[in-house]
Symmetry: C2
Subunit: 456 residues, 2 copies
């Protein structure tokens, strides 16, 4: 087993260099939603990968921002590393204590847009690959970075990329996913998958014009139609009642349940903090966690129709709309969920309610918790963080895990340099410098452990 | 039986004078919502009533616009006449072909804000009282005008007025209500009552902050709670399912049904004009009319909550609100409907849905269609209009009929000088001059007929 004493010492003596590299990419305002700085950031990643001895190239698919593919090392095992160089928009700007694209160090933290999500992870991983080669020797596994520039706008070219370059995914034995964090108690979190998502608008339309409500006992009303359609989709306890929907939901396995039992879920504190009286169905404790992670959801994100101003307007709305998102548990795909929803409404005569699919949409993705790949992730994370990791079957966020990993049978695990107050997608995004350093140490160990990964 | 040949001739020879009077009051911008011109209009009514030989005075209640009470005549019978001198705001101004407070005559119509609703009626009635005395002799009944200045803002002082001056309502045998119109085919419409109204907001609140929809399978959602609460109030066919609600609804009497059978209801044309596929419950023809008039309604006027902008926002709304109005059939009062609604929601555990009552609220009011008072209204209207009147048990609009009439056991009937295209509450409000003249003739006859009204 490789000894990492020297490796750790090397990393610690190069922190200033690593932070300088991190600051360089943090200064590039690579906001995918605004189309700014993407080529510059891709170039930075490409050059940095080359500088640390990898073969790096940029691949564009259709009009996508460049994908950077960087490869190096030899060995029986292939380790894929997925990251992205684009970031969320920095708004609201006036809530930042230092400018979002001028990285600032305060109290052992580094602040900048994208430092946690996920340039800090990308740079830590690149630096780890370099340190490994400097201290320990040639990479004992085939390492392949895939770094995209459109993650924050839904990774909209990733399927086309994976389809056109499917050869890249052959011989890959696991994928380090983009990011991760320490929870409030300091325990590192490893996530093994993510739920899928389908977003739709339900648009009810019952007339050409708003009519006077004196006719309310006779005329159809779009707001009522919308309410009636919605009320067939879910019970008040949150159980989805779309015809056939639940048939596709795989219940948690014994390994999942074992995992769940080890995840702390401070349900009372959460309810108190949010001002929530009780969770759906009144569940508490681990039951709440299980419901959160293993039950699909159907959420009304917004609803509107008719008169919404002050006072009273005696009107029958001709139109009403609801935005919904559904979190999908395997094997529910967005296509399937959409078809089931449409068929369900049609079967009930809701011809006056149109179902319009939003651009947002993602496949659910899972890695079995008893996968050996997960075991090595847990081992190296625990060793560096000196704390038992918490392993989540699904992470809170979203991302293109399925088309890059599960579609090719590649297990995935996500951990990284963030912490519970990293302010991801919010002003004053930050990481702790010690976690950044730990992140480098973890990846060094991961590379070594990956070479030992038993064949299934 | 009084002969009206001479009366009609007198009226026709004084049309210019009557129109000049009408124009005078139309020039006063007595917009209750804006508080303008109310005293001036009250003064005009008071002076005109005095000029035609009535005893007139102004009565204010609290900070109300003045009520004008004008009395004259002697006899066994008392005839109350209810009108209002205030009008709706004239907006949108740019859609008026002539300024709203500069009465203009075009093609036999007179255009101005309030000419149909209801200064044209008020002036026609005053002129009729004068002509009666000039041509036929002293008024054979006790005539009492009650003219208010806050009808368009909900007659908010009328209950206090009626309570403080209940003596005015003793010995009154019927009330001519404010207005009426000819339908598209030219048939005069008489209305005998109006449905009550309760307006509320349902406000659901489930948390202190909007949460991320990744928690949608666990966290409560205000939009869902609102949908769930609403869906207990009504069936998709529009039948109200609020506990106990329907117990208070009096079914139509045989006299009502006879009335209904005589009301034309062009249901196909209405659906086509509004782009409505079918009415609630699929009813057609006279069934539709019966459902329209004799079934209480619960209408969502507006609904909103959460994210309503473009694109997707994966959020769980903490708050959601719906505005509702309910049309109430006797014996459902607004107080009762409100109590039943609150109890219904409470019984189902909707403690997180607040029911906030709006200022709008009115008692339902009915006059039995077989009342002798209705018979004389039908007789004089038919005689002058030379067409069979259509008698509606409930009018489309609203007004303070209950506190002025039914609360004192006084039957009421409403007819007047408008027509189907009078543009009430809209730009280019107008009446036909011939209908204005007919209105004067009808009231002359009504006064005479009232003296003959058999005692019950």
């Amino acid at each position: 087993m490789t000894d990492f004493t020297e490796f750790d010492r090397y990393v610690e003596s190069h922190v200033d260099l690593y932070l300088d590299r991190l600051k360089e990419i943090l200064r590039i305002p690579s906001v995918a939603a605004q189309g700014t700085g993407l080529q510059e950031a891709a170039d930075w990643v490409t050059h940095m990968a080359q500088e640390i001895g990898l073969q790096a190239r940029q691949i564009a698919v259709e009009d996508s921002a460049p994908f950077v593919v960087a490869q190096g090392g030899e060995g029986e095992r292939g380790l894929m590393i997925y990251n992205h160089y684009d970031v969320q928009p920095p708004d609201p700007l006036d809530e930042w204590k230092s400018p979002p694209f001028e990285p600032a160090i305060r109290d052992g933290h580094i602040y900048a847009r994208g430092v946690a999500d996920n340039k800090g992870n990308l740079v830590a991983r690149l630096c780890a690959v370099e340190a490994y080669q400097q201290v320990i020797g040639p990479l004992p596994v085939r390492v392949q970075f895939i770094v995209e520039g459109e993650e924050e706008i839904g990774s909209k070219h990733i399927e086309a990329f994976a389809h056109a370059h499917s050869d890249l995914f052959q011989g890959m034995d696991g994928c380090l996913w983009e990011a991760g964090y320490r929870d409030e108690s300091g325990r590192p979190v490893i996530s093994l998958g993510l739920r899928g998502i389908l977003a739709v608008e339900l648009r009810a339309r019952t007339a050409n014009i708003d009519a006077h409500s004196g006719n309310g006992s006779l005329y159809p009303n779009a707001a009522w139609r919308l309410v009636e359609a919605l009320s067939t989709l879910r019970t008040p306890d949150g159980e989805i009642t779309i015809d056939g929907f639940m048939d596709y939901v795989r219940p948690p396995t014994p390994a999942d349940l074992e995992l769940l039992a080890r995840i702390p879920y401070p349900d009372e504190q959460i309810r108190e903090r949010l001002g929530i009286k009780s969770f759906l169905g009144g569940v508490t404790g681990q039951d709440a966690l299980r419901q959160l992670l293993f039950r699909p959801s159907c959420t009304i994100n917004g609803i509107w129709g008719g008169y919404t101003g002050p006072g009273t307007k005696t009107v029958i709305p001709k139109e009403a709309t609801a935005k919904l998102d559904m979190r999908l548990i395997p094997d529910l795909t967005p296509d399937l969920a959409y078809e089931l929803l449409c068929a369900h409404l049609k079967r009930r005569g809701f011809d006056d309610v149109e179902v319009v699919r939003a651009e947002v949409g993602e496949m659910p993705a899972r890695t079995p918790p008893d996968s050996p790949f997960v075991a090595i992730a847990a081992k190296v994370v625990k060793e560096v963080a000196q704390a038992e990791p918490i392993i989540f079957p699904f992470m809170a966020g979203s991302g293109p895990m399925y088309p890059l990993c599960q579609a090719f049978g590649i297990p995935a695990a996500s951990f990284g340099v963030g912490h519970a107050a990293s302010q991801v997608h919010a002003p004053n995004e930050n990481i702790r410098i010690e976690h950044f350093v730990d992140g480098i140490k973890m990846i060094g160990r991961f590379i070594a452990a990956m070479a030992e990964l038993p064949k299934a």
